[in-house]
Symmetry: C2
Subunit: 313 residues, 2 copies
Amino acid sequence: MKIAVDAMGGDYAPDAIVEGVVMAAAGLPEQVTIVLVGRQSIVQALLTKYGADARTNIECVQAEDIIDMGEHPTKALSQKPNSSIGVGFKLLKDRQVQAFCSAGNTGAMHVGALFSVKAIEGVIRPCIAGFVPQITGGHAVMLDIGANADCKPEMLAQFGEIGSIYAQYTFGIDRPRVALMNIGHEEQKGSLVAQAAHQLLKDNRRINFIGNIEGGDFFAGKTDVIVTDGFTGNTLFKLGESFYGLAKERGITDAFIDQTNYESVGGSPILGVHGNVIIAHGISSPLAIRNMISLAIRQVESDAYTKIAQALS
Amino acid sequence: MKIAVDAMGGDYAPDAIVEGVVMAAAGLPEQVTIVLVGRQSIVQALLTKYGADARTNIECVQAEDIIDMGEHPTKALSQKPNSSIGVGFKLLKDRQVQAFCSAGNTGAMHVGALFSVKAIEGVIRPCIAGFVPQITGGHAVMLDIGANADCKPEMLAQFGEIGSIYAQYTFGIDRPRVALMNIGHEEQKGSLVAQAAHQLLKDNRRINFIGNIEGGDFFAGKTDVIVTDGFTGNTLFKLGESFYGLAKERGITDAFIDQTNYESVGGSPILGVHGNVIIAHGISSPLAIRNMISLAIRQVESDAYTKIAQALS
């Protein structure tokens, strides 16, 4: 299994990325190799700096260009085919790697996924999933957390199905509970879109829909999948993540609150495309990168995207 | 000044309400009287139970009926004019009291406000404001937190103006900073509604619009007013409030996190109507009721709703 990592993407790239990859490499299963994509002279120097050993479960692939965080995704990808993101997606499309991860330009990662491995047939819109730690243990999969600010009811209903399959295969949860984020528990509550989505989710016999949850249920362990539009999902996810920083600032250390730290999972998969694409926070630290690689391995092993394709096509 | 309180509304009414009123009465400014609206036999017995003194800064007004939490607002109000909510709004409409507060049926409070004191001319839709503690001290006013699940850009823009006036007069903030909750700091980010609202807020010279904030900025002290639709606002507000319960469960005591407890402010005003109407959590404790009364007094003193009416008409 090969996991490609964009060495050049992220606010602290390439340093933090290479350091995180070296951390991950020290504990990799034997069959896994990490492929660092980026400027080889820089990457090699950093591998030496961070003491990567000679066992070579890290490979390097040259990519001369870099897509900056602020660049227009579509324009940048077409003008810079030799960027680390461009080359990473080429490797993924050609099945030379089984996953591609980057802490770089999120828009470019999203567009790159759509242009290279492409959306699964039957998927209305691919989305980004976030992992929300639950007080009862484990994580709930929340989708969408930002790819689609405006959602139709049919999209939300499909997020429920995609999230259910993902939770089943990647987290090993039997009949995952699926809930709709809403502003009341009763089915007639909420925006017009939420009301219509509730009915579609309720009518879908392939999922275990348990009804609405509210913002106060975010960490409560009531559900395995949280369905929401990318606007609500993004704001909630970022507020949830901010608990860690706030607690840290106040000198509070707590095992559960520590899990709200973005670093603890390290990445968010794009779901609904024909491949494993994982995006990380721009501010990703070496620890976040290491954990993102663990997530990528888990996703490759679970083969969730194939299961999603089988269910929806 | 007279503040009417619904004795019968709330999950722990009438006990918790009367206890809270007695707590508040012990520390009231001389010119303030609380008017308890509800079944007099019950209310009088509870006043005795909680040791209300004979100084009589608590008055009672009889209301035989009760609107239950689950009742249909419009139907209940028209069928039960002698309910505590019905009588409370009659007192407010007749200017016999300067504010009306209830922890009862939120929908009935909203509809009652629209039917009695009515929306201010020029207000597209009244909304509910929540108070978000800020790490830098004080609170930001967030609106809407649940009255309007679906909002047009013009509504969001008006929330910005209403919130700005409220923060100025009730909190004494000069040129309050107004921010739009969004999924990116750049002005082209977000849903179609958020993008359009951003432009309207930017073009409004009567407010100090500072741009977008994200979910991670919720407690950050970056703004005095948070503009959002009632769907996003409700879910964010409830997630923010859950921080307190989560910390408490984990044995964490912290002065800032304690402020995320709903009890610390105790109430949420309906803004955009011709009067001071404050709704509280159904689960309101005596402490929450006491703090809601403090908020009501502050609102009456600031005369914010008249200032809003002057600005918008």
